[in-house]
Symmetry: C2
Amino acid sequence: MTVSKTADVAKPSRAARKEPAEVAVEAAALQLGELSELLGYSLKRAQLRVFEDFLRCVAPLQLTPAQFSVLLLLDRNPGRNQTEIANTLGILRPNFVAMLDGLESRDLCTRIRSTNDRRSHILMLTDKGRAVLARAKKLVANKHEARLNELLGPANRAALLEMLATIAREF
Amino acid sequence: MTVSKTADVAKPSRAARKEPAEVAVEAAALQLGELSELLGYSLKRAQLRVFEDFLRCVAPLQLTPAQFSVLLLLDRNPGRNQTEIANTLGILRPNFVAMLDGLESRDLCTRIRSTNDRRSHILMLTDKGRAVLARAKKLVANKHEARLNELLGPANRAALLEMLATIAREF
DNA sequence: CGATATTCGGTATAGTGCATAACAATTATC
DNA sequence: GATAATTGTTATGCACTATACCGAATATCG
């Protein structure tokens, strides 16, 4: 469809009349050109794919990558408040409120008013939160990361991770 | 960070308000734990950094990564319509309209009603568009990608690009 | 041919992510 | 004790994304 007059490859002209059995010509693939050399382009495309697959793999638990990262951080860092967790994840405090509301309403974590500083809320995983996190970890490891390992191989996957961390840290 | 893309708005000064706060005690760093092994996490963080740097490097031309990719595609694929360009970049047609409006209002490209199919708009770079693209390419190559080469080394950068492309293609 | 379906660009709209300003309560500073 | 800073929060705006729908033009097919 959309046969361009300047197109390089055209169907051999069956010109006079339209033949019904002629399947529509698939448009020629566009040339990406320098785009395929642009790191940001591949980076974003890959990121979208990976997040997409993450969501699929962990769909039974209804966790987004961001929510999963929060649960992981809470498990690893008990006794921290909202600001500390949000800062570590690069989430702005105002935007972290609604996110925590969601997790707390699902009984995955709780806010506890600190006795030291009654302004701050100490965040804790609930038992259910720990259970969900454990299940999520397994899904991620066995379905998500395993698939990446299969695609790239363990060595390449490790190298990729290292380079991405370097960029995130030092770029 | 937070480089506004929409208009001539200058970047909000970072230290405008909060200069004197030279904090003495920084809170102990949180443990990332399994987060550092999660590819999607590093992937997104790296992508944000790379886009941020892209915006900085190409700031004189006021081009976002998405706009740059459109100009690149138009240059490489003359005679294509909006749907083809948008599809190639993973942009939905409705969202591509405003984007083209912006580029066209800056006289970087034009929509030309196709004579073959009067529904479709053939997209073309203007002379100014080609000039801006040429300048943008230099900025990206000399400032942006050069910095990545410096950080990773040419071989690693190529390997990274290849793996990201593989993920974007086959994952 | 003519009726129907499809495609194209476009509008409207809703959801989400991200950023800033401002506020009450609390704590730190001097 | 007066002032400044911090914490969680609300409100708000902007950009990006996704879907439904529309008129015009074209394709399909009886």
